[in-house]
């Protein structure tokens, strides 16, 4: 695809035809189409999405100096509207439209492309929501006439539960979870936890810390409270003094993060490692089993389903189950769809209480290319 695609009548007809089929399928499952504005206030994207999206967002200034952007994604504006219009849940919303992404250093990648997808908001039964979305994306590709694809799955909740089961200070648990999606970095953090220098960099008593802070009385607090600073300083001093992770456990986690391959085999390995480390993650593993069962019931060959323990999508708003569908076009493997659970998004956008959320986006142009060139 060129950086600035031009759709001739054959190409746009093919895309439109496919979109009609997809939206028809979505509608038959209760997902009504909605269409946010192409031009959006920039703040919501710059404030709420991860650096990967922000780096790729086209921003511009309107004549009055307000910062705007071309929507890099449809999930955020759809979720925001659901929050602002106080939608009743569960809400099922479909979309098909252009999104815009800056592709720095990659002039062959398109700066705009179509996405067709759905969002399922506020369905309390998470397992049912996952089954519904998985079935929908598999059926969507069937409707498009693409049967040759593989599925890659992971679950951030699995890693989060694993970290919560470790005897670590809260700060470290949050750090490990936050960086889970960064390949290599989590491993280096784990190594540090096993071999950390253990040196306290700050004094350990509250009085000493208060005195330090008083000595900087003229410096701005910069949005933090005195108590926040003192608490964190005390935590840091305490954790530096006695921070160690059992080597056996650290090793088990590192090995677990390495697991990747056919899903059924991989989950057997995960269970064996967890048993060695004495950690129980049965509820999370049962959820993974249920997803595999769903795919089996949809006649997906288990050999086409991969589990990657270290699979975190690089858009940081995902919080649990994540998946990608891959096919081949004439140049090689290409991701044709991706999605997952993003349970913290609605609150980030102003919802007064947590709202469960899961969705999937299909790269429709790539689906067409995979049908043409994959054989």
């Amino acid at each position: 695809m060129p950086a600035f695609p031009y759709y001739d009548s054959k190409a746009i007809d093919a895309l439109n035809g496919q979109a009609v089929s997809l939206l028809g399928l979505f509608a038959s499952r209760g997902y009504g189409r909605e269409e946010p504005a192409v031009l959006q206030p920039a703040e919501i994207f710059l404030d709420r999405s991860g650096e990967e999206i922000r780096r790729r967002t086209f921003t511009l200034m309107d004549p009055s100096g307000r910062e705007l952007c071309l929507r890099p994604d449809l999930t955020i504006p759809i979720c925001r509207e659901a929050v602002q219009s106080k939608r009743s849940f569960p809400a099922r919303i479909a979309y098909n439209g252009l999104v815009f992404r800056h592709q720095p250093g990659e002039p062959h990648r398109p700066t705009q492309f179509f996405q067709a997808g759905v969002e399922l908001l506020g369905l309390e039964d998470r397992a049912a929501g996952e089954t519904e979305i998985l079935s929908l994306v598999v059926d969507a590709l069937k409707v498009c006439g693409l049967s040759d694809f593989t599925i890659r799955m992971g679950d951030l909740a699995l890693f989060n539960a694993l970290v919560d089961a470790l005897a670590l200070p809260a700060g470290w648990r949050s750090r490990l979870k936050r960086h889970f999606w960064r390949a290599g970095y989590v491993e280096s953090l784990l190594y540090w936890l096993g071999h950390g220098d253990g040196k306290a960099k700050l004094p350990g008593t509250r009085d000493e810390i208060e005195a330090l802070l008083d000595a900087r009385g003229d410096a701005p607090m910069a949005a933090r409270t005195r108590e926040d600073i003192i608490t964190r300083a005390l935590d840091r001093a305490a954790e530096a003094a006695n921070l160690r992770l059992d080597t056996k456990v650290a090793d088990a986690i590192a090995q677990l993060l390495d697991i990747s391959g056919p899903a059924e085999e991989s989950l057997v390995k995960v269970r064996a490692l967890l048993a060695t480390a004495g950690i129980n993650l049965d509820p999370q593993l049962a959820a993974m089993d249920a997803r595999l069962a769903t795919l089996k019931s949809l006649n997906i060959d288990p050999a086409r389903v991969q589990f990657t323990a270290h699979f975190g999508r690089n858009m940081e708003y995902y919080t649990g189950f994540v998946f990608e569908l891959w096919a081949r076009d004439k140049e090689g493997p290409v991701q044709i769809a991706g999605g997952g659970r993003y349970d913290s998004m609605m609150e980030m956008l102003g919802a007064k209480k947590p709202v469960s959320a899961i969705g999937v986006a299909i790269r429709t142009e790539r689906v067409l290319a995979a049908k043409r060139g994959g054989k």
């Binding site: 650096e51 780096r55 970095y185 330090l212 802070l213 410096a219 701005p220 933090r224 600073i229």
Partner: protein
């Protein structure tokens, strides 16, 4: 004709003139051009333009001039990936300054970028908003924060007096240029231990995308030969120009 831009005012301009003079290249102001044009004595093929330091960086990126002298901070901000766009010919040994990440001195629990990451994440989680980083170096900041795996922040563009942003309440963190650190300290700020983004100095730089005619190449080779007779400056540049 080879076009070379040098800073039009301030210490950078004086340092440039002195640097050329030391190498036997004498600048002559062109009459009637209101001080925005000049030439080198005995080098009719070189046109010297006097521009602001920021304009020099953007003109090099746009390929409007062949050579320019300006701060490396501005060049790297203008073109985060220099390859295929600009070639740094030679650091000039003046105009030293560091681009740094600074936070309030009252944040006694924050000494490193890893600490800042924790504080950013905790703030985003609690406040449902991101901490703001005031800077005129948006590109360098983005790159450096990504390198340090920090994502819970947002950039607030700053046109000037960035060091005042935390006290004014318009941002919590700043990325700014500093030579001695005095201005930062005066504003109650401290530089993070691993918060030096770039150790900058004035650079003689070439635009790779400019129109490098045979004439321009010839004039450039003779100018660089004069500026650094022993060094392989021109061959290194020519290799970049294809």
């Amino acid at each position: 004709m080879l076009t070379l831009a040098i800073p039009s005012k301030g210490r950078l301009k004086d340092n440039c003139n002195a640097w050329f003079a030391e190498r036997g290249v004498v600048m002559e102001q062109t009459a009637g051009a209101r001080g925005y044009r000049a030439s080198f004595a005995g080098m009719p093929d070189v046109e010297v333009m006097l521009l602001s330091a920021g304009e020099i960086a953007s003109s090099l990126l746009a390929g409007d001039i062949h050579l320019g002298i300006t701060g490396e901070d501005l060049l790297r901000e203008e073109a985060p990936e220099l390859t295929g766009r600009m070639h740094l010919i030679k650091p000039l040994g003046f105009g030293f300054a560091d681009v740094v990440v600074a936070v309030s001195g009252a944040w006694i629990d924050v000494a490193t970028m890893a600490d800042l990451d924790d504080v950013c994440a905790a703030y985003a989680h609690k406040q449902k908003r991101r901490l703001r980083v005031a800077t005129k170096y948006a590109q360098l900041t983005r790159q450096f924060f990504a390198l340090n795996r920090i994502s819970d922040y947002r950039i607030v563009p700053s046109a000037g007096a960035t060091e005042g942003a935390p006290a004014a309440g318009t941002a919590e963190v700043i990325v700014d240029i500093t030579t001695t650190g005095t201005t930062l300290r005066d504003n109650g700020l401290k530089i993070l231990d691993d918060g030096v983004i770039l150790k900058s100095q004035a650079q003689l730089a070439a635009s790779v995308t400019a129109d490098w005619s045979a004439d321009a190449r010839k004039a450039c080779e003779s100018l660089l030969g004069k500026l650094d007779p022993a060094g392989p400056l021109y061959p290194a540049l020519a290799a970049q120009l294809r």
